[in-house]
Symmetry: C3
Subunit: 209 residues, 3 copies
Amino acid sequence: MHTTMLIEVFSFVAIVAWAMTGALAAGRRSMDWVGVFILAAVTALGGGTMRDVFLDHYPLYWVERPWLLGLTTAAALAAIAFARFIHRLKNTFILLDAVGLVVVTIVGCDVARQLGHPMAIAVLAGMITGCAGGVVRDILCNQIPLLFSSELYASVSIVTGILYVGGLELGFDAGVMAIAAAAAGLALRLLAVRFSWGMPRFVYTKDWV
Amino acid sequence: MHTTMLIEVFSFVAIVAWAMTGALAAGRRSMDWVGVFILAAVTALGGGTMRDVFLDHYPLYWVERPWLLGLTTAAALAAIAFARFIHRLKNTFILLDAVGLVVVTIVGCDVARQLGHPMAIAVLAGMITGCAGGVVRDILCNQIPLLFSSELYASVSIVTGILYVGGLELGFDAGVMAIAAAAAGLALRLLAVRFSWGMPRFVYTKDWV
Amino acid sequence: MHTTMLIEVFSFVAIVAWAMTGALAAGRRSMDWVGVFILAAVTALGGGTMRDVFLDHYPLYWVERPWLLGLTTAAALAAIAFARFIHRLKNTFILLDAVGLVVVTIVGCDVARQLGHPMAIAVLAGMITGCAGGVVRDILCNQIPLLFSSELYASVSIVTGILYVGGLELGFDAGVMAIAAAAAGLALRLLAVRFSWGMPRFVYTKDWV
C-alpha cells in the first residue's frame, strides 16, 4: 500500500522531469511552443503508450487520465520560464531522471504481469516504458537516439526489471522487491553517470549494409 | 445529415490534397515511386491511423475502406504527372489543406466522442487526426517536423476542436457547431498563413540536455 | 502441411538474416550493444509488429514467443563476433534477405486473410510485414529509408502478395500458390539486384512544399 503510493508519486515526478527534458530538447532546436508541448508529452508519456499498444492494454493511461497532458504542458511551460536557471539543476535532473527510470520500469513490469505475460515480456515491458519516450523524442529531433550510445540506461532498466520480476517469481514481497530493485537500479545508474560506464560499442566500417 | 455529407466530401478532398503534398515531399528528395506512394498514403492517412491506434478504434478506417489507398495512389500519380504545373496551384493547395485540417479535426473529435471520451481527449484526437500525418511524413523525409516551427497549424486544429466539442457540450446542434468551428478554424489558418502568425519559439542554447 | 513447415523455417531464417543486417547498420553508426540489440530486434520483428497493430491482431507474435527476442539478440551477437568476415557473405545475405522477404510476405498475407480482410488489405499486410522493419531501422539510424530509393523491394513484396492471394481467390491450393508466388518473387528480387532494376524516380525541384 505504502509502496504503491510511493511508486505513484515517483512516477509523476518522472513524468514532470521527462517532460522538462523533452521541452529543453525542443528548445535546443528552436521549436515553437507547439513543438515544445508535443516533445514534452511524447518524452514523458511515449514509453508507456508504446508498451500499452504492444500489449493491447487499453485505454492508454493518458486517455484515462487526460490531466497528465496538462501536467506535461505545465512542466514544459516551467522549462520555458526557468530556462535561464535550469542548467544549474543538471545534477537534480540526473537524479530525478534516474529515479523516474527505475520507478517507471517497475510500473511497466507490473502492467505486463497483471496481463499474465511471462517474465521476459514483463522485463521488456519495463524497459520499453522507461526508455521508448526518449527514443521517440530523439527521432522527432532528427537525431540518432541517445539511448544507443550513452551511459548505461536501457541496461539499468533491464537490471531493475530482472531483479524485480525475478524476486516476485521467487515469492518475495512485491513492496520489498520494488524498493530493493529500485535502489539497485538507481545506484547502478548514478555510478554509470559518475564514471561514464557504457556498454561496449560495435564499430563496423565496411561499406556493405 | 447534410452537414455529415459535406464533412465526408471535404475529408476526401483533404485526403487527396494531403496525398499530393506527401508525393511532392517525396519528389523533393528524389524518391522512387514506391517512396512517393508510401509518403502519399502516410501523409493522408497517418493521422487517422494514429488516432485509431491510440483509442483502440478498430478496424482502422483504411482497412475498412481499402479504396482509400487507391485514392492516395491516384493522387500521387497525379502529382507526378502534373509536377511541372503544380507549384502554380500553391494557393489552391494552401486552401485545400486548411479546409482539410479543420474538417478532419472535426471528424477526429467525433470518433473520440462516440467512444465516450471526455472533451480533452476529443480535442486531442482531433489534433492528432489533423496533424500526425504530416509529422510522420517529415520523419520519413529525415527532417524535423514542420509542425514544430511553422505558422499556426496544430493550434488551429485545437481551436477548431475546442469550439466544436465545447459547443456540443453546451448543447448546440452538431451540424451548426461543425460549420461554425470549421469556419473559425479556416479563417484563423488562412490569416496565419497570410500574416505569418506563429507560436512563439523557445530557444535554449545551453549545452546541457 | 509440408509447405507450412517450410514457411515457418524460412521465416526464422529471415528473422536471423534481418537481425544481422540491423546489427550491422547499428555498427556502421558505432552504436553500443544496446543499440545493436534494439536495431536487430526492430529490423527483424518491426514489420510483423506494425501489421499486427494495424490489424488489431493480438497478442503480437513476439509477445507470444519471447524466445524470438533471444534469437534476434543471438543473431546480433553473431554479427558482432563475425563482423570482420561477414562482408564476404554479402551474396549469401542478399539471397537470405530475398528468401525472407517473399516468405514473410506470404505469412503476412495469411494473417490478414485469416482475419477475413479483402485481397487488397491482405497484399498490403504482406508488404508491411516484409518491408516496415527496414523502414523503422533506417529511421532509428537517422536516414531516409532505403526502401524509397533502392532496387525493387516493396514491389517484389506486392507482386508476391498479388500472385499468392490472387491464386487463392481463384481457388488454387495454398501450398502450391505459396511456392509459386515465392519462386516468382525471389526470381524478380534477384534479377532486380543483379541488373539494378528500380522503380522510376520522381524528382521535384520546386521550392514549394
